[in-house]
Amino acid sequence: MARIYIFKRFERFWHWEQAALIILMLLTGFEIHGSYALVGWEKAANLHTTAAWTLICLWLFAIFWHFTTGEWKQYIPTTRNVLAVASYYTVGIFTGAPHPFRVTRLSKHNPLQRLAYLMVKLFINPLIWVSGLLYLYYNELGASKLAAGLELGSIALVHTAAAFMMLAFLIGHAYLTTTGHTPFAHIKAMITGWEDQDEPVTIQEPGARS
């Protein structure tokens, strides 16, 4: 089986730290919202704020990294093969058809991934960050009269809506990581950086699952 080094060290670190922070913020965020009691409101609010700042820092590094390495191009949307990939996940995956997309170093996301991640980066994330910062600095906002009439309830509404979107993304994303040639293949790649090419022509080693 061919192996390809696809996720670099910083990228892996960024991904997993971001994943941990987002899960933490979803858990604490919905506690702040009042959906349940888990760690206590005060602790939840403190954790949520700390995690937010950590994630902002991480993002600054990530943006820098994406532009200096040119990796941002990975998220340029394309319509090529979108339908093919979509039909793979709805039909082909059950009939044993091969994945229509081949991962390369220059193109590590399939067209659906590109679209989904771009959506997260350009829509959900900004929505969360902007509403979250407004939420956090609501007092200063009120004092500055920059956003007179903008009520905390409206800010919270947008923030909560974005959080639900993030939750839905997380569920779908987490599930789709199990759709590699083995259930843990993608997760392994995200940990080690090395992706096994699931080519049907590859000679199978003894004991490997088909």
């Binding site: 995956i93 905390l152 809506a161 639900f164 939750l167 779908g172």
Partner: protein, 533 residues
């Protein structure tokens, strides 16, 4: 020898230490704070027979004091509301003992004067100002009820015919020991508002005479030991911080020593400033909406003395099987019914009610139209809203009552309660006669009929500030069913009633559908992969 040297050193240090402060007596080592020792004044070397005699002596040095006091609410019992309502004890009606009118000799026990026994009192009299009630330091100065604020200097039976002998007080000794006001002085009246210890305010009772830190972090007798006047900083005998014109929101900074201010010195902010929370700065973000008291007074009546939460006058007048006025007590021995006053509900460690308050209070006064309705009549009403820019969320005590009114003229009744005559309710238990005399005393018409209606009065909670560790926690309000559940007009994170129901429903629905989707998809893959094996 070495031990001797040590003793010597200690003794010398004591002596030298004391000398450095100018006090010759190392044992007391106490620097007199005042430049005057009143025990040395010739004019106080008298066997005073009455209060005004003492005042006359005081005024011989403190020439302007009485004139200063004449300007205070303490003297006039009057306050002109900015909106024109004439308020003050003399005019308002409450739902405790209801009104001063027609009960002067009893109520004016707490007047800072001598002899206000009816509506003919001379408010220009200087010698009738009572200096000692505020400046006694012996704790022995006392005014007996029913004497119109006069003091007992001869053995007396009070009330007459009761067989209770009251000890005279030693005015000379008291006058010679006058001092700055203390909690005991102010408390002599303010702890007992409403006719008994802690009855009226809930955040003021005799437990504050010598409180510990948990009860009041500022007045803590073992620590800060604030007097009332530490915050209610008087100047020329004018006492700031009246609840008739409270400062609901203070946007000023902490007052500096030596600098002159026109703003109220009794607010929390006048010492603590606008951003007092150092450890958790997010808390400072609350001060634009929430009064300090809301979080820092977690409950009132915390000192072991119950306050009255409701008072039902309509049940008054019951006689026991022995034909004597009935008295009932609860398991703790607190009186919960008397024939004279009706039924009470008492409360200790009471969680306040919370409401928007902008400092304006509107009263229902004599002559204002009232009627029995679904809602209780508001004896006073705290104005404020989330949006007026002047209000904060304040803790309050809501006192509920049922009190007499004239159902024909639709006005609150003035009750003649106290007095040794044949009309006072407490002696005769006859409502019609007591109200007739009461109404006549204020020149109000009375139909001859008495009925009772539900009333509510509201009192700000601002004393019994707890140490920081006992302040409210986030979850006390950031929750559904929390302390601020009923406060409208503000989004409180964590309070479900503020949520957009559709968003939560849609959001969770999408999350659940996504979950179901991946489960079904995954199950399909498992089945297919098994079949292929």
């Amino acid at each position: 020898m070495r031990a001797g040297l040590c003793t010597m050193t200690v003794m010398t240090t004591l002596l030298v230490g004391a000398a450095a402060h100018g006090a010759p007596d190392p044992e007391s080592a106490k620097l007199l704070k005042s430049t005057s020792d009143h025990a040395k004044f010739k004019v106080l070397e008298q066997d005073f027979k009455t209060g005004p005699e003492v005042t006359k002596a005081c005024l011989s040095c403190h020439t302007e004091a009485a004139k200063q006091l004449h300007l205070t609410q303490h003297w006039t019992w009057e306050f002109l509301n900015p909106d024109g309502q004439r308020l003050g004890k003399k005019h308002v009606i409450n739902n405790f003992c209801t009104s001063v009118a027609s009960n002067y000799a009893s109520c004016t026990t707490c007047h800072i004067g001598y002899g206000w026994k009816d509506d003919k009192f001379d408010f220009t009299s200087q010698v009738n100002v009572d200096c000692l009630i505020c400046h006694d330091s012996t704790g022995n100065y006392r005014k007996q009820p029913g004497l119109a604020g006069n003091v007992v200097t001869q053995p007396m039976e009070i009330p007459p015919g009761s067989g209770i002998r009251v000890k005279p007080i030693d005015l000379k000794k008291i006058a010679q020991a006058v001092a700055k006001t203390s909690r005991d002085n102010c408390g002599a009246c303010h702890f007992f508002g409403g006719g008994g210890d802690g009855v009226k305010h809930g955040d003021m009772d005799s437990s504050l005479a010598s409180p510990d830190k948990a009860l009041d972090v500022h007045m803590d007798a073992t620590g800060n030991n604030f007097a009332c006047a530490t915050c209610h900083m008087t100047e020329g005998h004018q006492v700031p911080g009246s609840r008739y014109a409270p400062t609901a929101q203070d946007k000023g900074g902490a007052h500096l020593r030596g600098k002159e201010y026109t703003t109220n010195p009794t607010t929390c902010q006048s010492c603590h400033g606008q951003a007092p929370h150092k450890a958790n700065a997010k808390l400072n973000d609350h001060t634009g909406k929430v009064a300090c008291q809301t979080c820092h007074i977690p409950s009132y009546a915390r000192g072991g003395i119950a306050t009255k939460m409701s008072w039902d006058w309509s049940t008054a007048g019951k006689m026991g099987p022995d034909g004597k006025p009935l008295i009932r007590k609860d398991a703790k021995g607190h009186v919960i019914y008397t024939a004279a006053k009706g039924d009470f509900v008492l409360g200790e460690n009471v969680v306040p009610d919370y409401m928007w308050f902008n400092g304006k209070v509107k009263y229902t006064l004599f002559g204002d139209k009232v009627d029995k309705g679904e809602q209780p009549t508001l004896i006073n009403h705290f104005e404020g809203s989330a949006s007026d820019g002047k209000s904060l969320i304040w803790p309050v005590k809501v006192m509920r009552g049922k009190q007499a009114y004239d159902p024909v003229n639709k006005t609150l009744a003035v009750l003649h309660m106290a007095g040794n005559d044949d009309t006072a309710f407490w002696t005769n238990f006859n409502w019609e006669r007591a109200v007739a005399v009461g109404m006549a005393s204020v020149g109000a018409p009375f139909s001859g009929k008495v009925d009772f209606l539900a009333t509510e009065s509201t009192w700000p909670i601002t004393h019994m500030v707890a140490p920081a560790k006992d302040a409210l926690r986030c979850r006390d309000c950031h929750a559904s069913g929390g302390r601020l559940e009923k406060v409208p007009g503000i989004y409180i994170p964590g309070r479900a009633s503020d949520h957009a129901g559709w968003l939560d429903a849609a959001g969770w629905a999408i999350a659940v559908l996504a979950m179901l989707g991946v489960l079904v998809h995954g199950a399909g893959r498992v089945i297919v992969s098994r079949r292929n094996k």
